[in-house]
Symmetry: C2
Subunit: 313 residues, 2 copies
C-alpha cells in the first residue's frame, strides 16, 4: 500500500476506502507500515457493534442511529457483516439501497463485508477496517452483524461497545444465556416493543442482568425501541452516550481496548502461521492422503502429524 493511498484515506476518499477494505476482506497482504500509519491516525473514533438474532430489526435501528448521529454533526462509518452466503455475495439488496442513499454524503460510509466462511479472520478484518474508517476521520463506526454466534463474538472484540438487539420473540432468558448474548452485551435493546411480550422481556432481562453481570463489567442498561416507528431511538442514543461515559470512568473501556489489542495480535499471528504453513506442497500432500482414504484407514491425526513433521518452518 503506497503513501498516496494513505493520503487519500486520511482525506476521507471513499473510493480509496472501498478499495483497501476489499483488499482486507479478500485477505490480500497489506504492509505493516501502512497499518502503522493508519493506527496512529485511528485513535478517537467510537466503535459500536450492533448485533442480535435475524429479524430483530438491526438495520432499521442502525439507519436511525446514523440519522441521529448526522444531525448531531458526527460522521459515520458502517460495516454490515454478513455471514458467507453464495446468494448475497456479502451485500444484500437492503444494504445496497442504504449505500446508494448516502452515496454522495462524505459523512457516511456504508460497506457490506462478507465473512466468506472465514469467521475466524473476521475479528482481525473488522479491526483493520475499523482503524481504516477511523483514519478517514469518521467519528463513529458501526459494525452491524446478523445472527447469534461466533461472528458476533468476533465483532464484539473489535468494538468499544456492543448493542444487542432483541425482539419479544427472541426467546426466554435461558435461551439468551445459552446463546452467550449476555457476556458480549454492553447495552440491550428490545426492539419492536409495540409487540406483545416486549415489557415482560425487558423486565426479565433487567432481572437477569442484575443477577448475572460479571464482576468488572457494568450492568447493561435495557432500552425499548420501535425502530420502524422511530420510537425510543433518541433515548437509546442518549443512553449509549451516557453508558459510554460510565464505561470510561470505570476503566471498562480501557480494559476492552487492551483486550482488543491482545486479540488482534493473536489473530494476526494465527493468520500468518497458517499462511506460512500451508504451502502448495502441503496442500497437495493432504489432498493425496484424502484420495487414498478409500484404500487406507488413516486417522486425520496421523495425516496432520505427518504434515507437521514434514514442515521445517
Amino acid at each position: 500500500m503506497d503513501q498516496h493511498t494513505l493520503d487519500r484515506i486520511r482525506s476521507n476518499d471513499h473510493r480509496a476506502l472501498s478499495r483497501v477494505i476489499t483488499q482486507i476482506e479478500s485477505g490480500q497482504p497489506i504492509s505493516d507500515t501502512f497499518f502503522k500509519e493508519v493506527h496512529t491516525l485511528s485513535h478517537d473514533a467510537l466503535r459500536i457493534g450492533i448485533t442480535g438474532p435475524p429479524g430483530a430489526g438491526k438495520s432499521t435501528l442502525a439507519d436511525q442511529l446514523i440519522q441521529i448521529l448526522l444531525n448531531d454533526g458526527k460522521s459515520v462509518g458502517v460495516v454490515a457483516v454478513d455471514p458467507t452466503s453464495p446468494f448475497t455475495g456479502g451485500a444484500l439488496l437492503g444494504d445496497r439501497v442504504r449505500m446508494n442513499h448516502y452515496l454522495f454524503n462524505d459523512n457516511v460510509f456504508i460497506r457490506s463485508m462478507g465473512s466468506h466462511g472465514d469467521l475466524g479472520g473476521l475479528a482481525r478484518k473488522a479491526q483493520d477496517v475499523g482503524d481504516l474508517l477511523a483514519a478517514s476521520g469518521k467519528d463513529v463506526i458501526i459494525f452491524e452483524t446478523v445472527g447469534v454466534g461466533q461472528g458476533e463474538h468476533d465483532v464484539a472484540k473489535a468494538v468499544d461497545m456492543t448493542v444487542v438487539v432483541l425482539v419479544p420473540e427472541s426467546g426466554d432468558e435461558i435461551q439468551l444465556m445459552k446463546a452467550g448474548l449476555i457476556e458480549i452485551s454492553d447495552i440491550f435493546v428490545v426492539n419492536k416493543s409495540d409487540r406483545d411480550g416486549a415489557g415482560r422481556l425487558a423486565q426479565s432481562l433487567k432481572a437477569i442482568l442484575h443477577t448475572f453481570t460479571q464482576k468488572g463489567k457494568l450492568e447493561p442498561p435495557v432500552f425499548n425501541t420501535s425502530a420502524d416507528r422511530k420510537e425510543g431511538v433518541a433515548d437509546l442514543y442518549q443512553g449509549i452516550i451516557d453508558h459510554l461515559a460510565l464505561m470510561k470512568d470505570e476503566g471498562v473501556l480501557k480494559a476492552k481496548q487492551l483486550e482488543r489489542y491482545r486479540n488482534r495480535i493473536f489473530n494476526l499471528i494465527q493468520d500468518r502461521l497458517l499462511r506460512k504453513f500451508w504451502t502448495q506442497e502441503k496442500l497437495d500432500q493432504m489432498e493425496l492422503s484424502i484420495q487414498n482414504l478409500e484404500l487406507t484407514n488413516t486417522s486425520p491425526h496421523e495425516v496432520a502429524n505427518s504434515l507437521l513433521k514434514g514442515s521445517h518452518d
Copy 2:
C-alpha cells in the same frame, strides 16, 4: 490414553466416555495412537446436527428423536454444545434433567459441551467426540447447538446431516439467507407449527430452497413439527432416513465426509501450530508490549511481527 480406557470405550462404558470427552473439551493432549484406534472403530455411526436460533425448540425435538430412535432399537449419543457462558458452565439445568432421565440407560449417552469461547476448536472437538461415541457403539450421534453462527457452521462440518430448526418467528427468508442457514442445512424443520405463519414460512422456505440450493447439494426437504405436542416428529424421522439414503445415492454423503476429513486436518494443524508458537516467553513478551501501550504507539501488526521474528519454529 491407555489401552484400558480404549477397551472401556469399546465396551460402551459411559464413565470412561465422560472422562475422555472432558479431556477433549479441556484441550488436554490425547495420543494419536488412541485416536487412530478410535478412528478405526467409528465408521458406521450416523451423525446428525440439530441447530437453529434460540427458542426454536431444538431440545424438545431432540428428546423426541431420541425416543423414536430407542423404540427403533438404536443407541444414541447426544452432545449439546453451548456457547461459552460463565453462568451455565456449559451445561444448563434442562440438559442436566435430560441426562439424569437416561442416567442408567446404556443406549443413551447425553453430554453437554461448552465451547469455552474456543469456537474455532469446536469443530475438531466435536469430531473427536463423535468418533469417540461412535467407537462406543452408538448407532446415531446427535449434535445439538444453539444460536445461528460459526458454532453451527463448525458443527455442520462434523456431521453427516444438518437439521435446521426454525419457528414462525425466526424471521423472513432474506434474514435466513443472511444468517447463512441455507448452506448448512440438509433438512429444514418448521417447529411450533401450531403457531401463525408456520405454513407461510414452510412454503416460502421451499420456494427459496428450490431456487437457491447450490449445485452438488440436494434440495433440503422441509418438515412441519410441533415437538411439544409430539406432532410431525415421526414423519421427520422417516424424512431423515429417506434423505440420508438419497444423500448416499447421490454421493453427497461421501463428499461431506471427505470435506469433514479435510477440515479436521486443518483444525488439528491450526491447534498444534498455535500451541507450539505461544510459549510462555512469547506470552510474556506480548503482555509487556501491551503494558507499554500507554507510552508507545505501536500497532498490533508491529508487535505480531516482532513476535513472529523472535520465533525459530
